[in-house]
Amino acid sequence: MVETNQLTQYLETFVDITRSPTEQDDSRKAIASSLDNDSLSINQLVREMELYLTTTDNVVRARGILLLAEVLDSLKAKPLTNAIVHTLVGFFSEKLADWRALRGALVGCLALMKRKDVAGVVTHIDAQAMAKSMLQNVQLQALAPHDRKLGFELLEFLLQQYSEAMSTMGNLLVYATCEAIDGEKDPQCLIVAFHLIELLAQLFPSPSGPLASDASDLFEVFGCYFPLHFTHTKDDETNIRREDLARGLSLAISSTPLFEPYAIPLLLEKLSSSLPIAKVDSLKCLKDCAMKYGVDRMKKHYGALWSALKDTFYSSTGTHLSFALESITSPGFEINEIHNEAVSLLQRLVEQDISFLGFVVEDIRINTVFDTISRYSQFRGMPDTSKLEVLVISQILSVSAKASVQSCNIIFQTFFFRLMNTLGIVEKTSNGDVVQNGNFTVSTRLYHGGLHLCIELLAASKDLTLGFEECSPTPDCAQESWCSMVKRFSVPLIQVFASAVYSSSDDSVADVYLGVKGLLTMGMFWGGSSPVSRSEFEKILVTLTSIITSKSGKTMVWELALKALVWIGSFIDRYHETDKARSYMSIVVDKLVSLACSGHCGLPYPMMLEATSEVCSTGSKYVEKMVLGLEEAFCSSLSDFYVNGNFKSVDKCSHLLGCLTNKLLPRVAEIDGLEKLLVHFAISMWNQIESCGVFSCDFNGGEFVEAAITIMGQIVGIALVDSQNSIIQKAYRVVLSSTLAAMESIPLTFVALEDLQRDLSTRDELILSLFASIIIAASPAASIPDARSLIHLFLVSLHKGYIPAAQALGSMVNKLGRGTGGTYITSGCSLEEACDIIFQADFASGEKISSNGSGKIICGSETTLSKICLGFCGSLEHQTHAITGLAWIGKGLLMRGDERVNEIALVLVECLKSTNCSGHALHPSAMKHAADAFSILMSDSEVCLNRKFHAVIRPLYKQRFFSKIVPILESLIMNFQTPLSRKMLHVALAHVISNVPVTVILDNTKKLQPMILEGLSVLSIDSVEKETLFSLLLVLSGTLTDTKGQQSAEDNAHIIIECLVKLTSYPNLMVVRETAIQCLLALLELPHRRIYPFRIQVLQAIAKSLDDPKRRVRGEAIKCRQAWASITSTNIPF
């Protein structure tokens, strides 16, 4: 039980309008919650509020009623007895007459309306009383927008939930609605108002009902909103869009056939306006109306509708018909929204009532086109008006034909025969034999307009069959008259199209385009009862294939024919046409694959491969055929090379591999079974390499080796683990059988390495690279036989400078399991062992390398590899190889989050110092390699250690490394260093900074910005490090555009500006200058007092950039200069 005092206090707080809204809100909530948990009953509340509800003070009364209403609103789910609800309804209905307290009354009525079924609802009689009071007392248009909205919502609820009670009110309701909506301008209210009209129309559907008599007035009220003009684009809380309003209006207009006499003339008039939005809206609305009003009512408007539609088609179609490659499967001209809507309206009208087609068929304009179409033979030569006629009429006819079977029949009966006559195409003889070439005449001239019309008609009928055969599985259109007409003419039609393809007239592009498009359309009729018989279909395929194989250049016709074949192929695959698939296989696929394998055709080999792969990737059977064929071709040409030394065969091999990589590999997911085929291919590659003992001559087939490496890696990357294992086993056997196996036994001594200086044989190098690419791409679960000796092998090759070997080592340490607990037991080698082999490998060298134990502390790890890196022994070349190798191994460790990477990083840092533990600085080139090693460590690589190649990647590994290494580099830079070593340290730091995610930089801007700036000025001295400089500058610009970065930029403004000003004249890279100027522009975000002193300095620098040799820099300079000049009231002195 709430204490009376407290309740009074709450009431006072709410009623007192001087209190803050939050206080009022709180007291309302308090009352509502005590009602909800039954510590206060409604009766008590009302009794307590009596004074507030009945006082003559308008403000207090309004607040009191509002409080009661809002409390009710939050109790929608609480059960109340019918008596209470009844009393409340009575109260609020009565209060609707009290205009000073109207808001509360409206909220209260709405709250009662929204009550749930279980909690006591308003009865029909009460609702009727409420409606009556509402209609009599409330003048909606005199109220504020929010109240109007509440009023509309109340009406909406009444009509939706108490339609029976409402229907008794008849004319009064309609009249009051008219009055309420009249002149409404608020979009939120309008949305509800439009819905109201829809509900009214549902309520009084009868043609003699109350709506019928007032329909004209009602339509007058809301019809004037059409077409909706809504310019308010800013998002407010309600977020009403123009589309919603237009849709609502359209639904209201089409809600009842009673509006028909007023709506259709208005819509037709608006359709004739020049405003695009009016046209689109009218077309949409007309479509809605056609559906709702019914055929009978629409019939009297057909004449006007047809002429308006025709005009719309004419005005929305361009005269440009594209003969480009892309448009072979599309209409070939620009389509805008108006056109789309017109098409769908026409289709709907024809679908609904076939008699509308009478207007189309009898249209004078269409009929004259058929008579004059043969006047111009070339599309290019036609005047614009005739072009327009042809395009529009082809559209109209194809849309009407697509609407239904019946309409298709009518269109074909009326026009097809005439069209054939005009084109000079004569039907085949009555006995059904295929007519020989001589027996009928193909007109010597091709009429483009006619051909276009003909293709559009055929395409429409084709789409028609596809359209309804998706729902019914038994295609049966053979009896339809259009089908028999097409059948009669199919042979000569195909012949005409084929002759167009081979034409060589002066406008051959259009000829060829129309010819191929025609053949494509004829080839895509669906089902067994299609008007094109199998032999004719095969003829089409033969024609297209012969174009591809005969021509010897990448001409338009070649590309068109290829595209058409691909479309036909994917069509067959999609609709599972077994008969046609067989023809396609035997005619197209077999022919192309055999040509691709033999390579003996007039076509350049890459084009042949392109055609084959495009065509074959339309179905999985074709792919199988192709991959097997290519495998054979690869093997034979490789053996041709090593037996006969035929260099052409190597070229062929690399093209072949390139084709597989580029065309087929990206589609592995789409094509079933491709993965197995490719694995098989990889294994037979190894077989072939194994069988060729020695290459008869050396070759510089870098292209071939590269292609082979790429495809091998990619195949392993996509293969399943089992397949990976089998490839690895196979490859390992080949390695064992080669001379590479000998390298495994080479001790890691300098003498031995010196001996190795002569290069490996070409074959061994190929095997090594291929094997490395397999290891790089293998997943962690794959098993590697004899990993120890393999690591040894890679280590030796690394010292000889084979980068792939280093990458393979990196991948191995990245993926090997940890110790005994790891997953990697089969190989018998754990990560620990691998690291032992790599780092501790005993260099049993003649000279003793260690620092003879004089107590000098060398860097973190005293490993052999690091000693080589630091130049204790070995040649310079040797040293750089070791550094790069170390970087790749480090990357592998870094990505899995192994601690050993820290030692590696320390070794690399040691290489950069001017006085390191060996007591002297390294050779500049070695230092450069060490600095670039940081780029290898931090950047994402395309060739190895990425997701595609199953690398183990620990989250945030870059961030961790960044936070460890940056303080070290920083403190070294601070200490005195020689200029060279200082520069190299900066390069390393730049690599680290520019590869870490930008959020990390933003968190540390304060510390980093001075370092970045110093780095920029050190790197800008010469042109060697221009790319690094640019990436560092991008980081700086990132910090300047962020709020966090701007705070620290404020402190460093003078250094930043000095540095940027210097960079605006950096001569070596244009983007650096451009970015520097953009950064200067971004600096204007800083507080005025901070940047104003630098104004003159910046303006002077920018004035020089106005004369920059590059246009883009000049453009940026103008913008920047204007912005900097405008921060003061005085202008640039004139």
């Binding site: 002149g183 007058e220 003009h229 809504f230 106005l1106 000049r1114 204007q1122 000049a1125 640039i1132």
Partner: protein, 198 residues
């Protein structure tokens, strides 16, 4: 009843601040109404020289092909045209390009001698705005070009009644400097140069 409604709507439309304007065959759209009123106001205060100029469509921006990385891009007439095409006319809310005061052919550049010549065509023979337009061109180019260019601005021969004096005025350093020191003129020129409202 219907006539009464229409009148009422019209009244409300004209009186209140609107998101909506009601398009109806009996009602003029608000936007047109407002523009007409604006125009009348302007006419009363300024007295337009050319009240109804012919407006051309804006041309598409030229998209340059990716420039050669190793070659310098010299200043060419199109560059200069890019700079000045968007200057607004002093008396109409259209750009000089839209009013055909300037076109791509009106700029010539001599890169060896660092000279730039612009010939513009006023919309009417007796246009008193010609000097303002010239001043705008000069001020804009001053901002966009380095100092070593010499800019000559002329009205196209025969296109202006007072051709010689306009030309003389536009290419006299002292008079231009004096004009730019006049705060009213300066403000007008700045409005024309920096206006983004088009």
């Amino acid at each position: 009843m219907s006539m009464l409604y229409t009148v009422m709507i019209l009244k409300k439309v004209l009186e209140s601040e609107l998101w909506f304007t009601v398009l109806h065959r009996k009602i003029k759209p608000l936007a047109v109404e407002a523009r007409l009123r604006n125009r009348e106001k302007k006419k009363m205060t300024l007295g337009l020289i050319n009240a109804n100029p012919v407006v051309q469509a804006k041309k598409e921006r030229l998209v340059r092909t990716q420039p050669d990385q190793y070659r310098d891009d010299g200043v060419d007439p199109l560059d200069i045209y890019e700079y000045v095409r968007d200057i607004r006319d002093p008396e109409h809310p259209y750009t000089l390009e839209q009013l055909s005061v300037l076109s791509e052919e009106s700029v010539t550049v001599d890169d060896q001698l660092d000279r730039i010549l612009i010939k513009f065509t006023p919309t009417v023979q007796h246009c008193s705005m010609a000097t303002i337009i010239g001043l705008c061109l000069r001020a804009k180019l001053k901002e966009c070009l380095p100092l070593h260019y010499k800019v000559d601005i002329l009205v196209s021969p025969g296109s202006h009644a007072d051709e010689d004096s306009v030309n003389k005025q536009l290419n006299d350093k002292e008079r231009v400097a004096a004009a730019m020191e006049n705060p009213n003129l300066r403000q007008l020129v700045d409005e024309c140069i920096y206006s983004d409202e088009i």
